[in-house]
Amino acid sequence: MVLRRKTFKTNMKNGVILLMLSLFFTVAVQAQQKFERESRLKISEVPENAKLFLESLFSNPTKIRWYKEESLTGITIEAKKKEKEGTYSIKFSLAGELQDTELTQKFNQLPPETQQRITDHLQATYKRAKIKKVQLQWLAPQEIISALIKGKQPAESYTTNYEVEFSGNKDGEVKLYETLFDHAGNPMETKEIVQRNLHHLLY
């Protein structure tokens, strides 16, 4: 009995020492600024005009997922809907005004000249760029977006851009980037995607 008590005390002492050694490096660090934050919205929280517009576009509106997105540029409401041609992401202001429509694409679905220009730009700017995701972006009023989503070609003009997410090696470091290209494949704007710390998954 005495031997077991002594062993317990020794174990506890060693446990405390080991715990203190592990906490040796404890220094508080401020968290990084977040660029985007989204949360799920209930259908009752969505502006009526945005809801009606989406219901006019898709045959099964119950499968539409709504999110509120907060970013450095403000707050928007986003609808996501999977269709056979890809996933649509349609953004509205808080008042329900259409801002942006995006559709996921495969890179080889882009016009050949656009693909070539994008590839040339990535090869010239990064070592070993690898495309992860492509989205077609339409900037147009609701009537034109409605025609495009229904597969019709509208008579009025509209703007088409391409948002490309890729990993690129620059100065020996591989990072994730997002570049917005115009319809011809000319780069307009590039943002670095800040990657989350995944230590709780990797170790």
Binding site: T7, F8, T10, N11, N14, G15, L18, L19, L21, S22, L23, F25, V27, V29, A31, Q32, K34, R37, E38, S39, R40, Y67, G172, E173, V174, Q195, R196, N197, L198, H199, H200, L201, L202, Y203
Partner: protein
């Protein structure tokens, strides 16, 4: 090495920290304890509940360059069985993968375990981790998530092979990009080959902090 109970349930608290050394290296340290709350059958000189062991692990990984995500490490374990120490060398390669709103991580490890009066044990391990946000499209600060791990390992010791399977299901809270707290259950089936399979279930509580 003393024999262990075939069925054990307990608690496994863990502190996991990491920090960078310059731009090239990343260091991950882990302190993990195991306390048995129930075991069956009870071994000689053991009680139903007792302290089992403490592990300190250190992994150094490359943060950029051709060897990015590859690491080497070391673990020391103090076991309560006989107060002895166990040493382990570790080699690891891990990376993340995003699929839709799911964050996956793949971890491949090999390790070699050295114990006094025991043959060297060699293991090859693959773990798949999956993180699912519980609100929104990705895990943001001050949000909850679910984490699931599946790990299989092949073991070789004294020319005998065996296998182990581990499953984890945990609820996590992402306080910030540098701090996560998780609580869940970690099930392990050890010595799957043969008739002496051990079943272990741990209530795991983990704090992950990045400096």
């Amino acid at each position: 090495m003393c024999a262990q109970a075939q069925h054990r349930f307990g608690i496994m608290p863990q502190i996991n920290t990491d920090f960078k050394i310059g731009q090239l290296l990343k260091v991950n340290t882990k302190l993990e304890n195991r306390f048995i709350l129930y075991q069956n059958p009870i071994q000689t000189n053991a009680s139903r509940s007792e302290y089992e062991r403490t592990d300190i692990e250190l992994i150094v990984s490359a943060n950029k360059g051709r060897l990015k995500n590859a690491g080497v490490g070391y673990l020391i374990r103090r076991s309560d069985n006989d107060g002895s120490f166990l040493h382990r060398s570790i080699q690891q390669y891990s990376f993340g993968q995003q699929i839709s709103n799911l964050q996956l991580a793949h971890r491949l490890r090999t390790d070699q375990t050295f114990e006094k009066q025991e043959a060297v044990q060699y293991r090859v391990r693959y773990r798949l981790s999956l993180e699912k946000p519980l609100s929104g499209l990705k895990v943001d600060p001050k949000e909850y998530y679910m984490k699931f791990n599946t790990e299989v390992m092949g073991i070789l010791k004294e020319q005998k092979t065996n296998m182990e399977l581990r499953l984890l299901s945990a609820l996590g809270y992402n306080h910030s990009d540098e701090d996560q707290l998780e609580i869940g259950f970690d099930y392990r089936a050890e010595d799957l080959i043969g008739s002496n399979t051990e079943n272990l279930l741990w209530l795991t509580v983990g704090w992950y902090h990045s400096f």
